[in-house]
Symmetry: C2
Subunit: 339 residues, 2 copies
C-alpha cells in the first residue's frame, strides 16, 4: 500500500501538494501537477489510511449507534422488525452523508460510550436509554448526541431527541375500539416505562373520556424476563375471555397474541378484536391484517441521522425535540360490535 509520502518522492513533490490534490484543494495547484498526481494515484492504487487521517484531524467520520437492551433480549435485537427498520434507515442516512456507522449493542451505556469515545466518534445515536443513566453519558462524551424515544432530554447540552406522539397514538387506538362498540378493553405490554407509559396514558385518557373504568387486572403484562414469549402469550391468552378487544403496544405482540388466541380455537376478530402499534411488516403481512397505529420508522432513522450530521457539522438549527406524528391504519382485526 503506497503512502502519500512515497508518492511525493516519486513525483518529486511535497506531501502537502499530493494531499491537496487528493482532497480537491486544487485552487493553488497547477493543472500539470494535478494531472501528474492523479495519474500516479491511480497507477499506484493509492488507498488512504483513515486511521492516520483521523488521528491528524482529530475527527473520525464515525457515527456510533448504541442500542441498549436487556441481555436476554439483545442476542437478536436486530431481528426485531421495529429495530431493523430503524437501523436500516439510519445506516442509509449515515452512509449517504459520508459517515460510517458503528453499531454497539449492550445492556449498559457506560462501556459503550467509553468505546465510542475511544473511536473518537463524531456523534452518537442513542436508543433505549433510561433516565438515570444519562449522567454517565454526559460525563464521558461531549460531542453531539441524538436520542430516540427518550424523555426529559431537552435540558441537556448537545442532545436532540426524536420522539413520537405515543400518547396520542394509544389514544387513537383506544378511541377506535370504543367507536366500534368495545367497552371491555385490555392493555398489553411488558412494562409501563418510557414509551409504553405514554401509551398507557393515552389509552386511559380515551377510556376516561367515555367514563369507562380500567382496573389493574386490565393491564395484561408480559413477563418476558421470566419465560419465553410463547409461554407468556399462552398463559395470557385465557385472560382475554374477559375482553372484547386488546390494545397491544407493538405489532409483534399483536401478532403473537392473535396466534395464541387462535390456538385456543377462537378467531380474530370475531372473538377478540386486536389493535397493534408500529405498522411494520408483521401487521401488514399477517392475515387477518392487523389494524394498527402507524409510526414512520423510516422517518425516525432519516431524521436521527441527518439531524446528527447537521449537529456535527454545526449547522443544525431546529428544535431540541422532534415529535413524529402517528396515524390509525384500519385493517381487519377490529370488529364492530353492538354493545
Amino acid at each position: 500500500m503506497i503512502t502519500i509520502k512515497e508518492l511525493a518522492e516519486i513525483l518529486n513533490l511535497s506531501t502537502t501538494t499530493v494531499s491537496n490534490v487528493i482532497h480537491g484543494k486544487t485552487k493553488e495547484v497547477s493543472k500539470a501537477t494535478i494531472e501528474r498526481v492523479q495519474e500516479a494515484l491511480t497507477k499506484y492504487e493509492y488507498v488512504p489510511n483513515i486511521s492516520a487521517s483521523n488521528l491528524a484531524r482529530n475527527k473520525s467520520k464515525i457515527i456510533g449507534v448504541a442500542l441498549l437492551a436487556r441481555p436476554d433480549k439483545y442476542p437478536n435485537l436486530l431481528t426485531d422488525p421495529f429495530i431493523s427498520e430503524l437501523v436500516s434507515s439510519l445506516e442509509r442516512t449515515i452512509r449517504e452523508n459520508g459517515y460510517f456507522m458503528m453499531i454497539y449493542i449492550a445492556d449498559e451505556i457506560g462501556g459503550i460510550i467509553q468505546q465510542i469515545a475511544s473511536w473518537n466518534a463524531d456523534g452518537v445515536v442513542l436508543f433505549g436509554l433510561m433516565g438515570s443513566t444519562w449522567k454517565k453519558v454526559g460525563e464521558r462524551y461531549k460531542k453531539p448526541i441524538v436520542s430516540i424515544d427518550c424523555f426529559d432530554v431537552t435540558e441537556r447540552e448537545n442532545v436532540v431527541n426524536i420522539g413520537l406522539q405515543d400518547e396520542e397514538g394509544a389514544y387513537l387506538a383506544a378511541r377506535h375500539l370504543i367507536e366500534n362498540g368495545h367497552r371491555r378493553i385490555a392493555f398489553l405490554s411488558d412494562n409501563l416505562h418510557g414509551v409504553d407509559r405514554e401509551r398507557f396514558r393515552g389509552f386511559r385518557r380515551a377510556l376516561e373520556e367515555e367514563e369507562l373504568s380500567f382496573h389493574d387486572e386490565d393491564f395484561l403484562q408480559l413477563l418476558i424476563s421470566e419465560k419465553s414469549a410463547e409461554e407468556c402469550f399462552r398463559d395470557l391468552a385465557p385472560r382475554c375471555e374477559e375482553y372484547t378487544a386488546v390494545f397491544c403496544v407493538s405489532d409483534l405482540y399483536a401478532v403473537q397474541l392473535a396466534n395464541a388466541i387462535r390456538a385456543l380455537g377462537k378467531s380474530i376478530p370475531e372473538d377478540l378484536s386486536i389493535i397493534g402499534f408500529d405498522d411494520n411488516m408483521l401487521s401488514r403481512f399477517y392475515r387477518p391484517a392487523i389494524t394498527t397505529i402507524r409510526q414512520d420508522m423510516e422517518m425516525k432513522g432519516v431524521l436521527a441521522g441527518s439531524i446528527l450530521v447537521q449537529m456535527i457539522e454545526e449547522r443544525y438549527e431546529g428544535e431540541k425535540e422532534v415529535m413524529l406524528p402517528v396515524s390509525l391504519i384500519e385493517r381487519d382485526t377490529v370488529k364492530k360490535i353492538s354493545c
Copy 2:
C-alpha cells in the same frame, strides 16, 4: 481527554511503562508502579485513542461486513428478516470476540472494498457477491475474507465460504410436495442465479426422480426490478390456478404469495399448497403457519464471524468451504391430496 504521554509526565514515568500496564504487560513492572499507574488511569479517566493505536499497530479490530444488493433493494435491506437474522448474529459474534463491526451496503463491491481497505479492516464478511466481481476483491484486499452463500470460492487465497445445502433443501421441499400427492408444482423465485440456481436444480431433481415434467412456464418469475412486490404477486397469482402447489425460494415470498392467493378469495392450503425456505419469523408467525425448509441463519452468522476471527488470528484450521444442513419443517400449508 488525557493521553499516555501526559499521564507519564504526571507520574514521572515513561510512556512505555504506562502503555505496558494499560495492556497488562506487567511482568517487568514493579507492583508499586502498577498501582500508581492504575490509580492515575481511573483518576484522570484515561480513554485510549484507537485511531492512534491502529496507526501504530497497523491493525484495526474492525471487521467490515459488506452486503451487496441491487440499488432498488438495498434502501431497506436490513429489514429483510433473512438479512437481519444474519447481521444480528454476526454483530454479536464479532462483538463477543472483541472486534467492531462496520457495515457497508452497496450494489458494487469496488468502492466498498476500497473503503474497507482504507479503514484497514482486519477482515471482511462478504454477502451477495456474484462470480465476476471476485477479481476486484482479490486485487484490492489481501486480508482474510469469509463469504456467505458464494460459489467457486475454494480456489481463492484467504477466503472461506459459508454455504448451505441449497440443492438438498429444495429437493426435500419438492419431495415433500410429491409425497403429499402433488404433481403439478411450480417454482417461484426472482432469478436463477446463485443459491436460487442450486435450489432450482434440487427442485428439478426431485421431479425427475418421479418422472414429472417441468416446463419453462412452471417457473414463476417475479419481475421485482420492474414493479413493486405487491404488483408482482398480484399479477402472478392467477397463474397458480394451474398448480396444486408452489415452492417459493424464501419465506418472504411464500407469505406474499399466500396473501395474493387469498386476496383472490381462495384459501391456503385448500386451494393451493405452499412451501417456503428459510424458516424465519415470517413463516413461524403467519397463519396458517408456513411449511418450510429450515436453514440456521444464527449459525451462519456465528460461523462466519468466528471463522473470520480465527483466520485473522491465524489459528483457523478448518475447511475452505463449510456447508450448513437444511431440514424440512412441516407446518400447515401443504395439503395431502389424492391424485
